[in-house]
Amino acid sequence: MFLAWNEIKNNKLRFLLVTGVLVLISYLVFFLSGLANGLEQLNREAVDKWEADGIILTEEADLRLQQSILSADDFDGNGVDEYTELTQLSAIASNGTEKENVYIFAVKEDSFIMPAVTEGNVFMDAGEVIADDTLKENGFAIGDELSLSSTDETLEIVGFTDKARFNAAPVLFTDRNTLETLQYGETVEEADDAVNAFVIRTDNLGRVETDEALQVVDTEIFIKNLPGYTEQNLTLTWMIYFLFIISAVVLAIFLYVLTIQKISIFGVMKAQGISSGYLARSVIGQTFLLSLAGVWIGVVLAVVTGLFLPAAVPVAFNYIEMLIYGIVLIAVSVIGAFISVQTIVRIDPLKAIGG
């Protein structure tokens, strides 16, 4: 470390540039991972909150909630610990000034998918809803009367809940009566008891027995099949993987050039009898220091950027994932340094003799 550290101190600009490259790469990696994570949240938050193991849809719905229409008594709870029905509708909701694409979920008030209210009250009377609190950030408030795109009926926000976005839109929770009124109008007294899905909790999805026409789907698979979810995710994940490869190459080249410049110095030290091992450790230690600094600054920059971004950009940092990516970045840099180490081992001390 003695050599490594003194070299850094005496070639500040050079090492600042190397660290700068590292900072930029790690900044990009962390920011993209934040974005990927945010986009995931945007799509699955509401489903994650159910803490459900599976969901029952009709076979022909092809894993799409909207397309699955079944009857509330199609499933009798065979083989599950808990189950409840879910009915949904998507619409454009407006409070007069703001407009927002929303999902309306009808849930039973005593079921495990009933959200906890973080502000205001639970829905009681017809037309009352609990809203996801991103709506609050977007200018909606308790007491707002919401007009909907598909019907003349209106809804009223009576409370907010957190973490309730589904497929990139905030969710409004209400009871089935209200939802049926939206769907069929007030005149239909005895609507059929159609629901979209059953949400279930069980230790063993394989044990759940249903009609032929129904399908038990693992929650994770259901999420993966949300429109656009897998595509977005894979795109960003691959970008991150490519960044790792690119950063490995860029750093390896950088370190190699630095090492080439120092061949005669290494030759001098080797002539004196300083071992290749000591010099190699010094280069690797140096790379470790620089990449640690670069990655650390990259993290800070990414998180700070996240704070200043408009709410519309969905960044959410998963610190465990960032830790792993950070370690990978440092490892990639150190591996890059090993290429330089091979050069050092091959340097002929005779180079130092000169004339």
């Binding site: 050599l3 003194n6 101190k9 005496n10 004196q272 290749s276 001390p349 005779l350 003799i353 000169g354």
Partner: protein, 229 residues
């Protein structure tokens, strides 16, 4: 036993038309406490001789023994260790690490080897070489002569048993050159080292125990002519 011994050592560079026999088959010995000078024209093979003796390159044929160990029998790693322990090089080109100051050049040696000069010893050395005020300077801020003196300090700092110096006084004024030569002699005698100095300055060889002349790769022992002028 000689501390340094070359047996029929020969070095050939290249082959065919570009073949150069930089060193013809040579026998050579150096004892502890001996100060040996090597003179000779440019390109005659003096540096080649030193690098062979110090194990920096392997001879085409023949054997180099340091302290009874044949260098050819050692792997590069062991040879590096031996160099570090037994040999102090003063190279013709500067052998300073550019990003370490003078004091740190010595500190580096402490990091990689035990048994270097103690503080007081080193301070005396710096004073003799006139570099005690330069310890915080970096090589780029030193004059050619100052660099040379630091290089000498570096070579002596590890308490080697063999000192190989290639034109150590080349960029020094004559007073300083004499001083350095005297110091090398003192250390050689006092600490029983074998010192080989390549030089073209014939005024400096009077005090040496033996003088060799290198001509076209052939090393010849010179009769010492005393009391000339």
């Amino acid at each position: 036993m000689s501390i340094l011994e070359l047996k029929k050592v020969q070095k050939i560079f290249g082959s065919g038309r570009t073949k150069v026999e930089a060193m013809k088959k040579t026998d050579f010995e150096a004892e502890k406490g001996e100060l040996i000078a090597v003179i000779g024209p440019s390109g005659s093979g003096k540096s080649t001789f030193l690098s062979l003796a110090g194990g920096l390159q392997t001879p085409t044929s023949g054997e180099v023994m340091i302290n009874g160990t044949a260098l050819a029998d050692l792997a590069e790693k062991k040879r590096a260790k031996l160099r570090l322990k037994e040999i102090g090089f003063v190279l013709q080109a500067s052998n300073l690490v550019p990003y370490l100051n003078v004091g740190q050049q010595m500190q580096l040696l402490n990091k990689v080897k035990k048994g270097n000069m103690r503080k007081e010893e080193a301070e005396t050395l710096y004073q003799t070489l006139g570099i005690e005020h330069l310890l915080h300077h970096f090589p780029k801020d030193l004059s050619g002569g100052e660099k040379q003196r630091v290089a000498i300090a570096k070579a002596l700092y590890t308490n080697p048993s063999i000192i190989l110096a290639d034109e150590p006084t080349a960029s020094l004024d004559s007073d300083r050159a004499f001083e350095v030569m005297n110091m090398l002699k003192e250390i050689t005698k006092e600490k029983q080292k074998a010192t080989i100095v390549v030089t073209h300055d014939t005024r400096l060889i009077d005090d040496c125990d033996k003088v060799y002349k290198m001509i076209d790769g052939k090393l010849e022992l010179q009769e010492k002519i005393h009391h000339m002028i």
